[in-house]
């Protein structure tokens, strides 16, 4: 996922409106899109915890096959996010406030800044999505919302003139009834895509505090 810079609140937000990428998706009117945004934001404000399994697929130009990673993602309001990779095993990322802790297999824990370091950009975007305040804003992106059967598709397309370091396009898929985030596809600036697919989401279930405690001895 390409890092994003801006933090303004998206007017239409990254509503968790399901939209089918199939040509049959029906675009929503501005009023309905607004209503959806509000509904999503309210839901996320009430979300104290959230966890799900995920599959991360990185498809870059020139790679023979995409690189697939898997793991578990856990969120605790207001600003804690933990990702444990099962593939590759032994890797995790923990974001608490502005601190970001990264552990690669066989290497010591590295501490970075969520907002200042490039490594924090993808987590910043995920965190924003789960908090209901995605960092992508209308200044840099055109937003199109459509409904495809039982899901909403929110497509953010980078404007001409926006920074070339922003993603070309972000497509979020959200369940129409559940308002759960099902998938996020990011088209990278240099070509390629980064896709997150979430499964078995669990909302407001208890999560161990230890999961969000910064590692000691770093």
């Amino acid at each position: 996922m390409v890092p994003v810079r801006q933090r303004r609140r998206l007017i239409l937000s990254t509503l968790l409106l399901a939209a089918s990428l199939a040509p049959a998706a029906t675009p929503l009117s501005a009023e309905k899109a607004d209503a959806l945004r509000t509904r999503f934001e309210n839901r996320q404000k009430e979300t104290r915890t959230w966890s799900a399994g995920f599959t991360q697929t990185l498809a870059l130009k020139g790679l023979r096959e995409p690189v697939v990673s898997e793991g578990q993602i856990r969120f605790r309001a207001p600003d804690a996010l933990r990702i444990d990779f099962s593939k590759p095993a032994g890797e995790f990322a923990l974001a608490v406030g502005d601190q970001l802790f990264l552990q690669k297999p066989g290497k010591p824990v590295a501490e970075k800044s969520l907002s200042k370091d490039s490594a924090g950009k993808p987590f910043l975007s995920l965190l924003g999505l789960l908090q209901g305040r995605p960092p992508e804003n209308e200044e840099s992106f055109e937003v199109a919302v459509s409904r495809d059967e039982d899901r909403y598709l929110i497509v953010l397309t980078r404007k001409t003139g926006a920074s070339g370091r922003l993603p070309k396009k972000i497509t979020n898929t959200v369940g129409a009834e559940s308002m759960e985030v099902q998938e996020t596809v990011v088209e990278l600036p240099n070509g390629g895509t980064l896709t997150y697919t979430f499964r078995n989401p669990s909302r407001n279930s208890p999560l161990p505090n230890a999961a969000f405690t910064p590692p000691a001895g770093r």
Partner: protein, 1077 residues
């Protein structure tokens, strides 16, 4: 009138000169070049100046203008607008490319990396080679999927794609650079650029080309984005265009404002504008003269010199105003006054020009031009004011408004009444200023060179944005020059050790190292490129992954094969970092975070730099260097200036007192200036500090005029003010306008210079008009008998020295006396003026300075004769006698037995006359007044006594007369002087060209003693002998008209009898006090 003078004064000649000057001036104005660069104004030998000049010449681009967006503009908006502007800018004729920063770099960065690798030390180069082997590459490439798994880092992703073999990390590891693998990552890749670079095919070296391009770019912006004002043009051509345009408009503005204000000031004083037209015309001629000098001597006008026009207008107006005031006054017909004024104007012009020309010896080239221009212009102003303006005003004399005289007199009276307060106030201000100078010198001076930067303009605003965007803004930049690249690299390393703890900017990798290249070529394994291609194919990675690495390897392979064009595509980038020519190898070296302190406190250790020259490209070091140099210059030039001024004043005034008064005025004016600086919170910069020598000249200018006027009017302040107060105030005002006009420009350096000069002029005028007259009155010239010279030599010891030196030879004492006479005449102009006035009673044509000199020499010879005669018998004195005339009258008088009054004047060597009388058997008594000291009276009486001449000292009482009558009745010859009465007993007698007073005492005594009066004289003849003369006796009788008529008649007879002798030997009539009745 000589032929030359006639020609010069003729109308056709003047017209010819005017036409010639106009033509030359217009040609010069049309062809002179505007020098817009700032660095040529600064001393070229300073390391920082050399650094900046060479950096601009070699590495800064003169083919690019940057179009910078306001940082406050939202990124997307900026991107959209730039997208719109790019094609339109590319369509401008002459533009070859419109690029985003780093765009070229983005494509060529692998070749740059290859270059860096190629120039690594062989041992580090060797560490890279294993990573380039096919096997190692295959292993590394196979790890890529694993590296991509897990938490994604966008920057790492890009790096991995660009450099899958992590070669950059290998280069950076173990180096003293501040950043690692991101070194060559394009800074703005993918981002909306903050500025665009507009590049032309030909260099923009001419300011017309620069202006044409900037105008074209502005036109495009206005057309494509109407109303958009948030794009600024910067870069060297943009600065040139802006400064050129600004210079022209500033010059016109300064001249216009200066002329307008001067007109207003002139009208306020003289209530007329008609003659101003002529004055301004002649000033314009002087200006053109200066411009012609600039054109021939320099070929250009720099930023500092563009202020010369208004400065010259202000300062040169002085002379015209003085001339105008003279012709508007009642003294316009007085040839002597006009001659004295011309003399004063020329002297002022020479003094002020000399003070400006002193700047030609400063270390600042920018000031040399200004000094030459202003000096030439000032001399031109003086010439035209005295030569041309005078004749114009003489034909139709102006009339000064009476109010000027009233104000002048009122001002003079006020100053006279409050002189103690004024002097006291000036000294208090001076004392306070002195305290500040000693205790808080930082209040007066700042070396901050940001004063020189053209602030406020569009180009500067754009430059500031670029500085902020540049990551290396805080770097210290240097130019290093050495005989070889290896030495330069070594020098860079040593420099880093001394300044930044060894840290070098990553760009140092790009410095060439031919020796390393040769060694690395030996190490490069053949077939490396083919192996890498195979590894990438085996890994199944597409061109997106292999392109950069293969491009880098291709360049290295070609270099290893000896191909000279292996790095051809990056030559433009390399040219901005290093160059080689006949002077050696020059490289740009940057040290991170060292911008604030580019040079260590103790300076650089040159020995460790190994012969490499280091030139900082830094305003910080420039400030320090300039401060030191400016202080040294001020001391040096100030001393020269002072010596020149003291010499000029001494030559003009020839009086220790007047020179001391001039210097006192100078010191007070400078201290009052210091007080004004503190009060107004103004600090001097290196440029305005160098204005101090200028102020010295201007202050002396005013004080010279005022003192000369005070001397001429015998201290009469009213008279002085009526002549000078209005002109001095008006000239001060015009000078302030002239120097103040540059404050309206956008050049901070000129603004500060103008302000300091204005404050200096105000203090000069204030001290000159208010304090100096009071000082002059406190130290008024005194009678010559109070003079130290007189008091020192006119005493027994003085005569004793004459006797001593006479004993060494007559020629010795005569030589000494002539030398003393010369220097006395030279340095006592007041006394000389008195003597000349007295000589004018006899013959005005011969009342010259040379006549006065000869008079003093005769007096000196008298002194010498005293010395010679003291040690010889009286018979030797008789040998000095030459012609003897009229002695029969004396014999006849003696025969009658009644005694005789011998009346003479202070003429010749009258003491010898007494000796002659005695030797001829006439009993002689000399009547004298008391000398300054009883010892001297006694000494002189004893001296005469050796010759048999008795001395009777008389006073104001009547007993003296009784004694004289008794001597006469006893048959003595009584000798006395009649031409310098000491009391009210005198009458006015006629001389050929005036009147003087003679004592009536001789006539009174002769009447009482019933004896004749014989006028006598003993003068030095041309052959060196003495001529003793006795005129026919005068027999006073009481006239029927009464006592007064009797005294008048016979005293006049005495004067008439002596007149022929006085006329024949005027230079032996020793009258040192004013005897003009």
């Amino acid at each position: 009138m000589s032929v030359l003078r006639r020609v010069c004064l003729s109308g056709p000649f003047r017209l010819a000169v005017i036409i010639l000057l106009l033509a030359a001036g217009i040609w010069a104005a049309a062809t002179i070049r505007m020098e817009t660069e700032l660095l040529p104004l600064l001393p070229p030998h300073l390391p920082s100046v050399q650094g900046m000049e060479n950096f601009e010449k070699r590495f800064a681009s003169d083919r690019e203008i940057m179009v910078v967006a306001d940082p406050a503009m939202p990124e997307t908006e900026r991107g959209e607008k730039f997208a719109k502007l790019r094609p339109a800018l590319a369509a401008i004729p002459g533009v070859t490319a419109v690029l985003a920063p780093g765009e070229e770099f983005t494509e060529q960065w692998p070749v740059l990396a290859a270059w860096a690798i190629w120039n690594l030390p062989p041992d580090r180069f060797a560490t890279l080679l294993p990573a380039l082997k096919e096997e190692a590459a295959r292993t590394r490439l196979a790890e890529i999927p694993d590296a991509l798994a897990g938490a994604p880092d966008p920057v790492e992703l890009v790096k991995l794609q660009l450099d899958p073999l992590r070669l950059i990390d290998v280069i950076s590891s173990g180096s003293q650079t501040t950043s690692g693998g991101t070194t060559f990552a394009p800074a703005f890749a993918g981002e909306v650029p903050p500025f665009l670079i507009v590049r032309t095919g030909t260099p923009l070296v001419d300011f017309n080309l620069c202006m044409a391009l900037t105008d074209a770019i502005h036109g495009v912006i206005a057309r494509e984005l109407p109303g958009e004002k948030r794009f600024w043009l910067t870069g060297r051509p943009a600065f040139t265009a802006e400064i050129s345009r600004q210079m022209r408009s500033d010059m016109m503005m300064m001249m216009g404002v200066a002329v307008a204000l001067i007109c207003v000031a002139f009208w306020a004083f003289y209530r007329t504008l008609r003659p101003l037209g002529w004055i301004l015309f002649f000033q314009m001629l002087a200006l053109l003269a200066g411009l012609v000098v600039a054109r021939f001597a320099f070929g250009s006008l720099n930023v500092i010199s563009m202020g010369f026009a208004s400065i010259l207008l202000g300062v040169g107006m002085d002379y015209s105003i003085l001339v105008y005031h003279h012709f508007a006054s009642v003294h316009r017909e007085d040839a002597k006054t006009w001659a004295r004024l011309r003399h004063g104007i020329w002297f002022s012009a020479l003094t002020t020009s000399a003070s400006f020309l002193i700047l030609a010896f400063s270390s600042f080239p920018g000031l040399r031009q200004l000094s030459a221009l202003v000096a030439a212009g000032l001399l031109g102003s003086a010439l035209f004011a005295t030569w041309l303006l005078g004749s114009v005003l003489a034909k139709k004399p102006p009339v000064a408004p009476p109010v000027l005289d009233r104000f002048s007199h009122a001002g003079a009276d006020w100053v006279t009444r409050h002189r103690r307060f004024l002097v006291g106030g000036a000294f208090i201000a001076a004392a306070v200023a002195s305290w500040f100078i000693v205790q808080k010198p930082q209040l007066f001076y700042t070396g901050d060179m940001s004063q020189f930067r053209p602030a406020g303009g569009e180009a500067w605003r754009g430059q500031e944005v670029l500085f902020k965007l540049d990551e290396s803004e805080r770097d210290a930049i240097y130019l290093l020059r050495g005989p070889s690249w290896e030495q330069v690299k070594m020098g860079a390393h040593q420099l880093a050790l001394q300044v930044s703890g060894g840290k070098l900017s990553p760009w140092s990798y790009l410095l060439p190292a031919p020796d390393f290249q040769v060694a690395n070529r030996q190490q490069w394994p053949a077939g490396t490129l083919a192996g890498l291609q195979s590894a990438f194919t085996a890994a199944g990675l597409g061109e997106e992954w292999s392109h950069s690495t293969l491009m880098l390897s291709t360049a290295l392979e070609q270099a290893a094969q000896g191909k000279t064009d292996a790095f051809r595509t990056i030559q433009p980038q390399l040219a901005t970092l290093a160059s080689q020519d006949a002077e050696g190898c020059t490289a740009v070296v940057r040290l991170p975070e060292a911008g604030e302190h580019p040079i260590p406190a103790g300076g650089l250790d040159a020995e460790k730099l190994g012969g490499v020259e280091v030139f900082p490209v830094s305003w910080v070091t420039l400030k320090d260097e300039l401060t030191k140099l400016a202080s040294h210059d001020v001391n040096r030039l100030g001393i020269w200036m002072l010596v020149a001024l003291v010499t000029l004043c001494a030559l003009a005034q020839r009086s220790f007192r007047l020179v001391a008064l001039n210097m006192a005025a100078l010191l007070l004016a400078l201290l009052v200036l210091a007080a004004l600086l503190v009060t107004t919170g103004t600090q001097m910069t290196p440029l305005s500090l160098l204005s101090v020598p200028l102020l010295l000249g201007l202050v002396i200018d005013y004080s010279l005029h005022i003192l000369m006027a005070m001397e001429h009017s015998d201290g009469d302040l009213r008279h002085t003010y009526s002549h000078l107060a209005a002109p001095v105030v008006l000239t001060g005002l015009s000078s302030c306008i002239g120097f103040g006009a540059p404050m309206l420009t956008k050049q901070p350096a000129l603004q500060n210079f103008g302000l300091v000069m204005d404050l200096g002029i105000m203090s000069a005028v204030a001290v000159g008009l208010l304090v100096l007259p009071a000082l002059h009155q406190a130290w008024a010239p005194r009678c010559y008998t109070k003079d130290w010279f007189y008091r020192f030599f006119y005493r027994p010891e003085g005569f004793g020295w004459a006797i001593y030196w006479a004993a060494r030879g007559r020629w010795v004492i005569r030589l000494i006396s002539r030398v003393f006479a010369f220097f006395y005449t030279l340095f006592h102009p007041a006394a000389v003026a008195v003597v000349r006035r007295n000589l004018a009673l006899l013959d005005p044509k011969h009342a010259t300075w040379w006549s006065a000199l000869r008079l003093y020499q005769h007096q000196g010879l008298n002194f010498a004769e005293y010395g010679c005669l003291a040690s010889r018998p009286p018979e030797d004195a008789m040998k000095l006698l030459g012609r003897r005339e009229g002695f029969e009258y004396l014999a006849a008088a003696q025969a009658k037995g009644n005694g005789c009054l011998l009346v003479t004047a202070h003429l010749g060597f009258f003491e010898l006359g007494g000796l002659v009388m005695r030797q001829m058997g006439h009993p002689i008594v000399a009547i004298t007044l008391p000398e300054p000291t009883p010892e001297l009276t006694r000494w002189r009486a004893e001296f005469r006594g050796r010759w048999g001449v008795r001395t009777v000292e008389v006073g104001k009482d009547s007993f003296s007369v009784v004694e004289i009558v008794r001597e006469l009745r006893a048959g003595s010859f009584v000798a006395l002087l009649g031409d310098r009465p000491y009391d009210e007993n005198h009458v006015v007698v006629d001389l050929p060209h005036g009147k003087t007073t003679f004592a009536t005492g001789p006539v009174l005594v002769a009447l009482m003693a019933d004896c004749p009066i014989v006028p006598v004289a003993c003068v030095r003849d041309h052959d060196g002998t003495y001529r003793a003369m006795a005129m026919p006796p005068i027999y006073p009788r009481r006239l029927p008209e009464g006592r007064d008529a009797t005294l008048q008649h016979y005293t006049q007879e005495i004067a008439n009898a002596l007149r022929p002798v006085l006329l024949q030997y005027p230079e032996q009539w020793f009258q040192f006090v004013n005897v003009v009745a």
